[in-house]
């Protein structure tokens, strides 16, 4: 690191203006699509519209968790801390998205099923997934030394992501009362609904990418500050 030089990370812009504009436009279009353009679902009514964001948040959350896996494996292979930054950024964003899923789910369920929560397959597994990655974040807070923290959380990150399919299969066989997915079923789904769902997914993916980018930068800055601190401690100041 250059002595006394301006931080390289700080010098670069957080996120570029075009990407922010793009995500903003996507979000606006997705909101319009979900709230106005898509037809009202015949049996559930207006509340069904929350689905577009509920489902797309879950999908984007999954993508984030896959990024945790990629970051963890890449860290163990390369020992480059930047992969750990990707993992922590993705884990936090993934947990945020699954929090949205767990909050919007009951809002939808109360009027449609008459209950806020039921221990059905998909609810249970989403909840468990959320807990898994909250544990991952808790683990990170309890290890101070960056290299060691990166290593143990990479190991746990890999185990947690490998657990996802097992969680899903086990709970799936265990109990199912969730409405079966109608995506790809064709038939009764208005094509506009499918398009809106895809649009919402694109928008949440965009938000995901921006958030991960910002969070990654924060982690990079932290590492830089730590390095400066160590340097000044070495110089006896």
């Amino acid at each position: 690191m250059a002595n006394g030089a301006q931080s390289e990370t700080l010098a670069r812009p957080v996120i570029s203006a075009p990407s922010v504009t793009l995500v903003f436009l996507l979000l606006a279009a997705a909101s319009y699509g979900a709230l106005i353009w898509a037809p009202t679902e015949s049996t559930m009514g207006l509340v069904q519209r929350i689905f577009y964001f509920h489902v797309s948040s879950a999908w984007s959350g999954f993508v984030s968790f896959i990024l945790v896996f990629i970051g963890s494996v890449a860290f163990l292979r390369t020992r480059a801390l930047k992969w750990d930054w990707l993992s922590v950024a993705s884990a936090e964003v993934g947990v945020a998205f699954f929090t949205i899923v767990l909050v919007t789910g009951p809002i939808w369920a109360k009027p449609v099923w008459g209950i806020w929560w039921t221990w059905d397959a998909r609810l249970t597994s989403s909840f468990l997934l959320w807990v898994l990655f909250v544990s991952y974040l808790v683990l990170r807070t309890l290890v101070d030394e960056p290299e060691r923290r990166a290593m143990v959380s990479a190991v746990f990150g890999i185990f947690a992501t490998l657990d996802i399919p097992l969680v899903y299969f086990s709970i799936w066989w265990f109990r199912t009362q969730h409405p079966q997915p109608v995506i790809g079923d064709g038939g009764k789904l208005d094509p506009r609904m499918g398009w809106v769902l895809l649009l919402c997914w694109a928008a949440t993916l965009g938000v995901m990418a921006l958030l991960i980018r910002v969070r990654y930068r924060l982690e990079a800055l932290r590492a830089e500050v730590d390095a400066y601190r160590m340097e000044s401690a070495r110089n006896g100041r």
Binding site: L76, V138, L139, R148, V155, L162, S170, I171, F174
Partner: protein, 224 residues
């Protein structure tokens, strides 16, 4: 030294340590016994009720026991500063992990075998007709518990608040084992001739996935 022999040496060392102190097995057995007794207050343990809730409480008790007992697997090394010595040995780092896994598997299985008859008597559940398939379920479930638990014990040993952290890491990852083992056990108690192939296969898959993962991360986990 090849992997199997090195793991065997580590396993022998773990067993010797435990049978000289005998603190881990005794404490864990009493803990599980306590959980089994306390659970009787949460429902009315008649024979039919026990068949419904019994398998779940049994496996939950085993999981809790594992998450407490496996702490010491690496903590003991850390307290005595012996992990560095183990690492210096010219063996595959995974063999340290594998030896400890095997030892933990045996400890847990022993505790389970001691408490299974106690559970059967206290909750009035007939296990003798299904003993052989039940042992298979126990072995498969315990393998998953020991494999993930040993790895996480090494993870938690490097963190603060490790006593609290290990259950926090272990229990959510083990939820599939809890479901599969409980379902397999419940199926056996309902109908002795029914051994659920789905759940057994599932448990075997879980074991294979995490043993492989442990093998892949083992060398990173133990380095300084």
């Amino acid at each position: 030294m090849n992997l199997a022999r090195a793991s065997g040496v580590i396993l022998a060392k773990e067993l010797r340590t435990e049978f000289r102190s005998r603190e881990l097995l005794g404490t864990t057995t009493v803990f599980v016994l306590l959980v089994i007794v306390l659970f009787s207050f949460t429902f009315n343990p008649t024979s039919s009720e026990s068949r419904r809730f019994g398998p779940g409480l049994l496996w939950l008790a085993f999981l809790f026991a594992g998450s407490l007992m496996l702490q010491s697997s690496f903590l003991r090394e850390q307290a005595n500063d012996t992990l560095a010595a183990l690492r210096l040995a010219p063996i595959d780092p995974f063999s340290i992990l594998a030896g400890k896994m095997a030892a933990n598997f045996l400890f847990l299985l022993l505790v389970e075998l001691i408490l299974l008859p106690v559970f059967a008597v206290l909750y009035n559940v007939a296990i003798l007709p299904v003993l052989a398939p039940l042992l298979l379920v126990l072995a498969l479930g315990t393998t998953g518990l020991a494999a993930t638990g040993t790895v996480f014990s090494a993870v938690a040993a490097q963190a603060r608040l490790r006593e609290l952290l290990l259950p926090l890491l272990l229990l959510p990852v083990l939820a599939p084992v809890l479901i599969a083992s409980t379902e397999a056990t419940a199926g056996l108690l309902r109908d002795p001739s029914e051994l659920s192939g789905v759940w057994l296969t599932f448990l075997a898959c879980f074991d294979v996935v995490f043993l492989t993962a442990a093998w892949m991360v083992g060398e990173y986990l133990l380095e300084e």
